[in-house]
């Protein structure tokens, strides 16, 4: 009897430990003023993608993340902190960006993150800085021409965990099976090895993949609207306003259009006029 009791006691103790750990996580919100801290350190820490061609991609030659979002973040940092302001970049994934923002490791997320009402309950979004739309990428010669062709039993669609494109595809092709992989390069590898019929995510990201991988193309156009926003932690009003203000300035000065041209002018099928501001 005593043995059984001690065993039960051990299990209960373990459970209590786990539950109490879970409870303390919800109270650890930071009370600091991000804008003030950033002005003091003269640095803004941005969470950006490092696996996404055109938006944020790690260049293995010099270990720098390069892309449209990185350049835009640099321009906005200069607007917020002045000419000498420094932008620091931390690479995030769709899964890690929200926790990293919540615990204060990054000040803002600019990582191809679509503004959705559900996410807006957890973070504050800036105005949209890029209007993407969801599309599909297939191997050339594939019988799949648009998203409706995927709506049949046995079709397999590849996506990335944590992106809302996997939620959308369930609405547009409810009969297809959706496999969620950990990042875009994994998903593309899976597409190439024939684990799925199509890869779905925002068109901007897919264009980047089709440039790098001849033999794969974006088909069928976009079927959703995906405005990308810059996310900041809840309760950081001054920082949130500074970001919106900086975005307007960058757009008005023409720098935004320069960056759009720099990154997208040689992308086949990209609507330059529609993207310029």
């Amino acid at each position: 009897m005593r043995k059984i009791l001690s065993k039960v006691g051990l299990v209960v103790a373990l459970l209590i430990m786990v539950v109490s750990l879970g409870a303390c996580s919800s109270t650890s919100g930071s009370k600091r003023d991000v804008l003030k801290d950033d002005k003091q350190s003269n640095t803004i820490t941005w969470g950006v993608k490092a696996d996404t061609k055109l938006f944020g991609l790690m260049d293995v030659k010099d270990n720098q993340i390069k892309g449209f979002e990185v350049d835009l973040a640099k321009a906005m940092t200069k607007e917020i902190l002045g000419k000498k302001g420094k932008a620091r970049f931390i690479q995030v994934t769709s899964q890690t960006r929200m926790p990293l923002l919540a615990n204060g490791n990054i000040d803002a997320i600019m990582a191809t993150m679509t503004i959705t009402p559900q996410r807006a309950e957890q973070v504050d979004f800036s105005r949209s800085y890029f209007d993407a739309g969801q599309a599909i990428l297939v191997k050339d010669g594939s019988p799949i021409k648009n998203v409706r062709d995927l709506n049949r039993k046995g079709a397999v669609v590849l996506g990335v965990v944590g992106s809302n494109s996997v939620q959308n595809i369930k609405k547009f092709a409810p009969k297809a099976r959706v496999l969620q992989l950990s990042d875009y390069s994994q998903a593309l590898t899976a597409l190439k090895s024939g684990q799925g019929d199509a890869l779905t995510t925002d068109n901007g990201i897919l264009y980047g993949m089709s440039i790098e991988n001849p033999g794969y193309s974006v088909v069928g156009g976009t079927f959703t609207k995906e405005p990308y926003g810059i996310a900041t932690a809840k309760g950081q009003r001054p920082f949130h306003n500074a970001i919106n203000h900086a975005l307007t300035k960058v757009e008005n000065s023409g720098e935004y259009n320069k960056l759009i041209y720099k990154w997208f002018h040689n992308v086949k099928g990209f609507d330059m006029k529609g993207a310029e501001r």
């Binding site: 750990l21 879970g22 996580s25 899964q95 496999l179 969620q180 992989l181 899976a190 090895s193 024939g194």
Partner: protein
């Protein structure tokens, strides 16, 4: 945490089922393959020893994720189409079998060589002595380290998450990104893994007491 169980009960249950299924398949096959290679490694035949050595060193020293990705990416390209679940389970089986082989080998070698000589001198063949004299003693010695390997195997099944195998870890990633409550989701999943591994570790302990 409770809200996660309420809202995503179905997903968690599927995940638990897939993890359990993968673990059971991998456990059975890893034990069979591992024991076979352990016997090969202790055989007088030099060729068999070399083959076993190479197998064990290859699969013991390559990360599980690499083995699994090989089956997920390379095999479907050239040989046969296999799903994420299958490639994960095969990878886990091969990886674990190498460790189990080393464990069982140490058990076989800890049986006094005099036992084998004695068994052979009574007229038993090599295989008969192995089967009736050596192996029963060897397995009794290695129950505690074998229990460790089994628990590791269950936890390592989380490699399925990387190849979309719909296991517990995969569901955890999906739920965490959907509910945006990463902390409590991973807590839930931690508890579910405990539910799988605690009985296993108690059972191994019980077995150890009964047999030793």
């Amino acid at each position: 945490m409770i809200s996660i169980f309420q809202n995503y009960g179905g997903e968690l249950l599927t995940g638990l089922g897939q993890t359990l299924l993968c673990s059971i398949i991998a456990l059975i096959f890893a034990l069979i393959i591992g024991s076979a290679f352990a016997i090969m490694e202790t055989m007088p035949n030099k060729f068999a020893r070399v083959v076993a050595r190479v197998y064990i060193e290859v699969f013991r020293n390559i990360p599980l994720l690499v083995i699994t990705m090989f089956f997920y990416v390379v095999i479907p390209m050239y040989i046969v189409k296999i799903s994420g679940f299958a490639s994960g389970t095969v990878g886990l089986t091969l990886y674990s079998s190498a460790f189990i082989a080393e464990t069982v080998r140490s058990g076989i070698q800890s049986v006094d060589p005099g036992q084998m000589e004695g068994a052979r001198s009574t007229g038993l063949s090599y295989w008969q002595s192995m089967r009736y004299i050596i192996l029963p003693q060897a397995f009794r010695y290695v129950i505690p380290p074998l229990g460790n390997q089994f628990i590791n195997l269950v936890k390592n099944s989380s490699v399925l998450a990387f190849v979309a195998g719909f296991d517990l870890m995969y569901q955890a990633n999906v739920i965490a990104s959907d509910s945006l409550q990463s902390m409590s989701t991973y807590m839930c999943v931690g508890v579910l893994y405990l539910i799988l591994t605690l009985p296993l570790s108690y059972y191994m302990r019980h077995l150890e007491k009964k047999l030793a």
